[in-house]
């Protein structure tokens, strides 16, 4: 993650968003990941999504733990604060940051090691608290920085580069998210920008914990024959079940959908997600059914992708807490101190 300044040259013909900013304004420092790394595609999708939503860069807060995935928060939206914390503890850092200022967009980027092993407890409790953030797992089934050990998401029978076979069952983050009560659960593939960008946009606008598990192959340690997280395997075994299109507030739905297949879901700020079912039997608003469907397909070695489950009526952390409307880091001291007279009153209890 060395710091390589990128030349900031923007061609005048580059398209601009509502703020007059180009995609270049949402970039970060140069990626130092391996050429062809799936994570870089996710980074590009995040840039596209945030640019497309016309979010001011400083409104974006980027949080991560440790690992290849966690490095990527430096590679997008340089105009927003970033926090590359310690291994597996990003959810708690995010919890505190969100507690202090509820009005920013929080993007957490984690990996399968960071989330499903060392940070599994914090991941579960962030879901339980329903903190308002987008939580992306860049899932490649392998520890890259320590050179290729299996992670907790590695499938039984999947092989390392040297041919060692994984014998332990995986923890699937989508199944875990559904079980733990997450209100927005999606899976995507780093190689499918068409699917990923609107999912990221929907996740950013969702009020509560939005989980996107992105299958993001590791070209160096897990892209070989026998791996179930290689580009080839994922391409051959992934199936989009519900496609989500994101529609900003006050914009008409212009895409034509066949009657009965499109389900519009309205978010808190008036924007909508239009869900298009690609498997007619599937219902992304029924948690139990989504869970069963997913388990059945996983058992067949298939990755179900798309917006797997959504419940837009859940109450986020601040709603449950009853926090005041002003972000609490902006409350003036005068509002916070009871003052000397009150202390005198308090003291009478202790006489």
């Amino acid at each position: 993650m060395s710091f390589i300044p990128k030349p900031k040259v923007a061609h005048p013909s580059l398209p601009k968003n509502e703020l007059g900013l180009t995609r270049r304004d949402y970039e970060g420092v140069m990626s130092t990941l391996c050429a062809g790394c799936g994570h870089d595609s996710v980074t590009a999708a995040i840039i596209e999504a945030v640019w497309g939503l016309s979010i001011r860069p400083e409104q974006v807060v980027k949080l991560s733990g440790i690992g290849c995935s966690s490095k990527t928060t430096a590679y997008f939206v340089s105009g927003g604060h970033g926090f590359n914390s310690v291994h597996g503890r990003m959810p708690s850092i995010a919890t505190g940051a969100i507690a202090a200022n509820k009005d920013l967009y929080y993007i957490g980027v984690s990996g399968d090691g960071d989330t499903l092993s060392i940070g599994f407890g914090q991941f579960a409790h962030a879901i339980r608290r329903n903190i308002n953030m987008l939580y992306i797992i860049e899932n490649n089934g392998v520890y890259g920085l320590t050179k290729g050990q299996f992670s907790a998401s590695a499938d039984i029978g999947s092989k390392t580069k040297r041919g060692e076979e994984n014998l332990q069952p995986p923890i699937d983050p989508v199944v875990a998210g559904l079980t733990l009560g997450a209100g927005f659960v999606a899976r995507s593939f780093s190689g499918d920008k068409q699917q990923l960008v609107p999912l990221i946009q929907a996740g950013l606008k969702y009020k509560g914990f939005a989980l996107i598990d992105v299958l993001s192959p590791c070209v160096t340690f897990n892209d070989h024959e026998g791996s179930t997280k290689s580009y080839r395997f994922v391409r051959e075994h992934y199936d989009e079940v519900v496609h989500a299109d994101f529609v900003p507030p006050a914009q008409e739905i212009t895409i034509q959908y066949s009657p009965g297949e499109a389900i519009p879901v309205t978010m808190h700020d008036g924007s909508r997600i239009v869900l298009r079912k690609l498997d007619e039997r599937y219902d992304p608003t029924r948690r139990g059914k989504a869970y069963n469907y997913l388990r059945d397909r996983l058992a067949k070695g298939e990755y179900v992708t798309g917006l797997i489950y959504i419940d837009e009526k859940g109450r986020d952390f601040h709603e449950v807490n009853g926090t005041t409307d002003t972000p609490i880091n902006q409350l003036p001291y005068e509002v916070l101190t009871p003052g000397a007279a009150a202390l005198e009153q308090i003291m009478s209890r202790y006489r």
Binding site: M1, S2, F3, R56, P57, E58, Q59, V61, T73, A74, S78, G79, G80, H81, G82, F83, N84, S85, V86, R89, P91, S92, I93, A94, T95, G96, A97, I98, A99, A100, N101, D103, L104, G121, Q122, A124, H125, R129, N321, G322, T323, T324, D325, I328, N329, Q330, L331, Y333, V335, L336, T337, P338, G339, A340, A342, L343, I346, M347, Y350, R351
Partner: protein, 616 residues
Amino acid sequence: MLQPADSQERVNDFVIKLANVNGTGSASANTLLVKSIFRMGVPVMGKNYFPSNIQGLPTWYEIRVSRDGYVARSGRVDIMVAMNAETYAKDLKEVSPGGYLIYDSTWPRPALLKRDDITIFGMPFARMCNETFQGVRARILLKNIMYAGALAALLDIDLDIMRTMLGETYGRKRDLLDSNVRALEMGYAYAKEHFACPLPLRIAPMNKTADYIMIDGNTAAALGCLYAGATVGVWYPITPSTSLMDAFKALCQKWRVDPATGKRNYVIIQAEDELAALGAVLGASWNGARAFTPTSGPGISLMNELIGLAYYAEIPAVIFDVQRVGPSTGMPTRTQQCDILLAAYASHGDTRHVLLFPNSPEECFYLSVQAFDLAERLQTPVFVMSDLDIGMNDWMCPVLKWDDSYRPDRGKVLSKEEIERLDKFYRFLDKDGDGIPYRTLPGVHPKGAYFTRGSGHSQFGTYTEDSTEYQIVLDRLKRKFDTAKKLVPSAVFEGRNEHDLGIVSIGSCDGAVREALDLLKRRGIRADYMRVRAFPFGEEVEEFLAAHSLVFVVEQNRDAQLRSLLTLETSVDKAKLRSILHYSGLPIPSSVVVDGVLAGLGEPVERFADVSAGRA
């Protein structure tokens, strides 16, 4: 009528110890006694020695009445109220010669008559309760109020004050109030009728508590957090720190709810563990809120990695360590000062942290406020090193006062306008030469954005693996710690360069040392005294150590952690530092300090009875 064994008058100067079974409601009777004495204007101390258990194990409460205002244990027990059959034998042994023992004579206890150097009073508390009150629970609870009534007669405590206090407690619960008052009066009447009341040890009204309160350190610290403007509190429940967050929560519910909307101007999070608790504190502080976490030793152990992150990434945090007995789970409900070194150097790599050491609930309040100012000024974690004795016992302290002109020191945080004026913002640059860089908050200005990381970084905020760039930041952090020396509260002195002999102590040892200084003076031994209040140590600490040829360091742990820190962080000759250590888990009595100094000077030692401290 039984005659007291010792007729020497000891007005307002004695120790009562109450031996009970936990979960039987003795706390309310004991508080009633302490508060009544306090309201009679007599200085008093109450300490609770309780088990890590909900019901059924032995618990003791010690009340020291001290007309001279000494706040520590003395090492004596003059009156024992032995209500726990399981500990009768031990409790009997502990009474100082000439003292008294009161026991429940419903069941005969011939073994209690084994001592002839004390006076023993039997009172049929259980029988009287069973004959008067209905219900098993009420009978158990009211036995306690009954002994409080008996003590009122024996010690001449104002019964009206006790009735008033019961009224304050039970208010409109008429039935409860009536039965409590009845039990109180029955105990009083029985003692009056059967014993020579009052005893030579008795209470006489004084006027020495007018500007004082009885408060525990955790409540006082919570008040400090409230007045400091803390908005985010995160914790994982752990004895003995839990009551700090309980108090903060109660205060917020009263003082931090927006009257117009009913919404909360605070966030309290019960975390899944101490790691998450500190993680959330760092996230909130990084994002511009004043945030804190209360914990104890085991929590600090867990937090280590994140403490290092906060140190290196320069994030403010206030951590309350209400110390308890270690190592490991240790004795969770007993007190020690055993986390000094752990906190000073917490986390891997070169790290050093700012520690504050309150000596009382009063300082818990004022130093808590200062902890937030220091944490934000220095952009680093600040530990408030309290302990169970301070945190959970009611101490007599001067009334807490507030100055409405106080405004929080938020440190070097750039405003939107200041960022606008910059060409470029560099997070870790030492612009002012004090080692403290400027920081920005998320959401304010895109030019202020930077990347926070626990990995190697340059002064410009970029990732680095370059030796020089790395060292520039590491050396600046050291300079920042030097700046901290000038900002932390200075040591407190009792005599500076008057004697060759010096005594150094810390935190809750203060009361014991101050009393010991008086006791030693009566034997012709005079010493200067310094109470350290912060780490890093200021110049004044260095000077005091240099000015004395022999220095006793008094602290409550086995390994002389304060002494170690002094030898590591000052230029003192370690040979002249002698330790006086107390680590039984009970608060240090003044007798331990006196004995320690006498022994260290080769003087004859007059040992006080101190069975409870593990000394015969």
